[in-house]
Amino acid sequence: MGIVSPGFRRRRHDADVQLPPGQYLTEDFPVLSAGPTPNISLDRWEFTIASETGQEYRWTWDELLELPAEEPTVDIHCVTKWSKLATTWRGVSLDLLMEDVDTTADYALAHCYGGYTTNLPLEDLLDGRAWVVYEFDGSELAPQHGGPARLLVPHLYFWKSAKWVRGLQLMEFDEPGFWEGVGYHNYGDPWREQRYAGD
């Protein structure tokens, strides 16, 4: 038996944590919103993936909950410079939702209740890197944090993890979303500090 028991875990201190450039650590969960929080009835909620040929794939709220769930624990990084570590979520992998979708598209535009949009390369939504999540920290996702469901794409700045998500539009050509069209970086990699267009 080794000196360190298998159950021992070193506590993460600020000094031990490597953050993306320009970020600071927070224990809070700040709320950023570009508009009013939409009231979304679960009876009418749906998530749609629309392919570039116009074919649509839909899930109701109950159908989403019936799908096998994953519980990712991830660090999140907001472009306003806060980072929050080891956040826990529950939701459905985009790999699963995309499994039967027939597409050759390279890009996706996420659409949300309330009108928000954000664009991503489709490959960034696959390979275990993106989810539609409906729980945060063991509780249902609060409306101010994007509930009933939001996109979670933690390897990009958090504005890409669209709150109140209602669908993905798959596209052959890229199209800027709500913030990308007014100065924010098209891709938004926090480790390359891609905050603004031209960074």
Binding site: L32, P36, T80, V182, G183, R195
Partner: protein, 89 residues
């Protein structure tokens, strides 16, 4: 939060950097519902990574303003025009 916004006077400071006139006194027409309002009367959501001003009648986005360290982006797609009051010439 649902009602977590300020009125359009919150744009006086950030817009003063771009415009020589006080744009909050200007009036614009919403492209969505046609309502004509002073910029000062818009609903401004500033708890974001930029300022987003919405029409009080229909919540359509009238104006977006993003400030980077070395540049600013202003989007006025949501208004058909701005009428800016000026001193008589």
């Amino acid at each position: 939060m649902t009602d977590d916004y300020q009125d359009g006077n919150a744009l006086a400071g950030p817009l003063a950097e771009l415009f020589a006139v006080d744009v909050t006194a200007a009036t614009g027409r919403c492209v969505s519902c046609g309502d004509t309002r002073r910029v000062a009367d818009l609903r401004v959501y500033g708890h974001a990574q930029g300022w987003v001003a919405r029409c009080p009648s229909c919540e359509h986005v009238i104006l977006r303003l993003v400030r980077a360290p070395d540049a600013a982006w202003l989007d006025l797609q949501g208004t058909t025009s701005l009428r800016v009051p000026l001193p008589p010439v």
